[in-house]
């Protein structure tokens, strides 16, 4: 516990850690401002596929704006998670403090786990910040109302009193997704001695995998189910009707499998690693 506190202190002592919170707030604010000023254009675009229908009512409300923010940010938040988690072990190696750290009476496995949990806590604070900036602020600015969400082949409208639980579930799922990213970044952080490598590596893997997951080309259909980025989108399932619970559960299990794989591999590798810096 003491070790975890030290790791958290290290993370939150660095000014660059707070860049992530600023970036999230900035993106959320830009989206809120854009939707406040010209949200109708976006809605018209999304509704162009339903020319036979006319939609009345307050579509641009807090819930809808939060959905758009989440959709945008949950692509970017992994990059911010990588910024800290990727630095966890490699940053120490880069500074030359890793060898010193390992002279202390703690096992290497414990050190990896502490670094991992510290990164997870940081990721969760990012999500909580996102919830405050995204959901709470959007509700204050745009108000409450029925929520509309769009799939490529479906329009879903949810009653205002049927939305909050969906967001709670979506944020909880996003927590698993961000933990997966943190575990990947920790893994890459363990195999290099330079912090830039794991950060860029994690970001690169996420971008490439996300392309495979979302391009919708039949060529990549066979590999999609095995990519964690495909399953990271499962938070959206809570906004479908009916909610595809078994698919979401499968996705959650796949992500937990990835987390277990990355952390176990990191521990095994790190225990065998010759620490020279």
């Amino acid at each position: 516990m003491k070790l975890l506190q030290i790791e958290l202190y290290k993370i939150f002592k660095r000014p660059r850690t707070y860049i992530s919170y600023v970036i999230i707030a900035a993106i959320a604010f830009i989206i809120q401002l854009a939707l406040y000023a010209d949200g109708d254009t976006l809605v018209k675009f999304m509704l162009q596929g339903v020319p036979d229908f006319v939609v009345h009512g307050k579509i641009i409300n807090g819930y809808f704006v939060t959905y758009i923010i989440l959709q945008t940010l949950l692509v970017n938040v992994p990059l911010l998670v990588a910024l800290v988690a990727g630095d966890a072990l490699a940053g120490e190696a880069n500074l030359g403090t890793l060898r010193l750290l390992l002279t202390k009476p703690i096992s290497r496995s414990k050190l990896v786990l502490v670094k991992f949990f510290a990164s997870v806590i940081y990721s969760m604070t990012l999500l909580i910040w996102l919830a405050i900036i995204g959901l709470v602020l959007s509700l204050l600015i745009f108000g409450v109302g029925d929520m509309i969400s769009f799939k490529s082949n479906m329009v879903v409208i949810m009653s205002a009193n049927d939305v909050v639980w969906r967001y709670l579930a979506a944020f909880a799922f996003a927590g698993i997704a961000m933990t997966t990213v943190a575990s990947l970044a920790i893994f890459l952080s363990a195999i290099t001695d330079n912090a830039i490598g794991p950060i860029i590596g994690t970001i690169g893997i996420i971008i490439i995998f996300t392309l495979f997951s979302t391009l919708g080309l039949p060529l990549y259909d066979s590999i999609k189910p095995y990519l964690f980025t495909t399953h990271m989108l499962a938070w959206k399932g809570f906004f479908y009707d009916p909610v595809p619970y078994s698919s979401i559960l499968t996705s959650a299990l796949v992500l937990l499998g990835y987390i277990a794989f990355f952390i176990t591999t990191t521990i095994i590798y790190f225990n065998r690693k010759d620490i020279t810096s």
């Binding site: 020319p51 229908f53 006319v54 009345h56 769009f150 799939k151 329009v155 479908y240």
Partner: protein, 240 residues
């Protein structure tokens, strides 16, 4: 002699047949006029409505709203704080707009039995296209003299079918329930924009099959009509 009798009988038959046709046409036009008068007796109404949209590419909870109508064709659906998604023109196809024509050509077709009741089928062809309606087919309950099924072909919005069920407002020809059936275009947005989560639920996938033209059904249940209360035009000018 027998030749003249046969000619006379033939002439009589032709005369009778012509008379029958005339009588039938007159009946149809009169029936149309009678129904139209009954419908026009309602100048305005407010009703609580529950709307159920059954379209393969839409998931919408049952909507509760207030519907305002003023003759001949003003209509407004009020849903405080909520989103309502409605077919562009079907809802506006009230009985009044369908039966707006004062001097249409009314042709009686064969009769049928629907829900155990004898119905007469009228084809109503407007004398102009101002209303945007090309042809209306009415299934009229012979006993109550009210339309229980309507099929309207419009210039811009294809064919809309309506089924009407009446209750205690039958004397005003105001239905308790209307079911609209319509043809719809396919709905598609680029996956790159929506970034769908692809679930494996077969039931969901089955429901999501939206390739090609779609069929849609909308049920509107009317309750608590307030009829001829003298609604102001301002109610219909509210921007939502």
């Amino acid at each position: 002699m027998s030749k003249w009798i046969r000619i006379a009988m033939l002439f009589l038959l032709v005369l009778l047949a012509t008379d029958q046709v005339c009588a039938k046409e007159k009946d149809a036009a009169e029936l149309y006029r009678c129904i139209r008068e009954k419908i026009l007796s309602v100048n305005d109404y407010v009703a609580d409505v529950k709307m159920k949209v059954d379209v393969s590419f839409m998931r919408i909870p049952v909507m509760s709203a207030k519907m305002y109508f003023k003759s001949p064709s003003k209509i407004r659906l009020e849903r405080k704080g909520g989103i309502s998604i409605l077919p562009k023109n079907s809802i506006n196809l009230t009985l009044n707009s369908v039966l707006m024509e004062t001097n249409p050509t009314v042709i009686e077709m064969k009769s049928e039995t629907i829900r155990g009741r004898k119905v007469r089928i009228l084809k109503v062809i407007p004398d102009n296209d101002q209303s945007g309606i090309v042809l209306t087919k009415l299934w009229i309950d012979d006993e109550q003299q009210i339309p229980i099924k309507i099929e309207t072909t419009t210039i811009n919005n294809g064919t809309v079918k309506m089924e009407l069920v009446y209750g205690k407002y039958i004397k005003y020809a105001l239905p308790d329930k209307i079911t609209f059936y319509m043809d719809l275009k396919d709905y598609k947005l680029p996956k790159g924009v929506t970034m769908d989560y692809e679930s494996n639920e077969t039931e969901l996938k089955k429901q999501e099959k939206t390739e090609g033209p779609q069929k849609g059904k909308i049920e509107i249940i009317y309750t608590a009509y307030k009829i001829n209360t003298g609604l102001s035009n301002d109610i219909f000018n509210v921007k939502e």
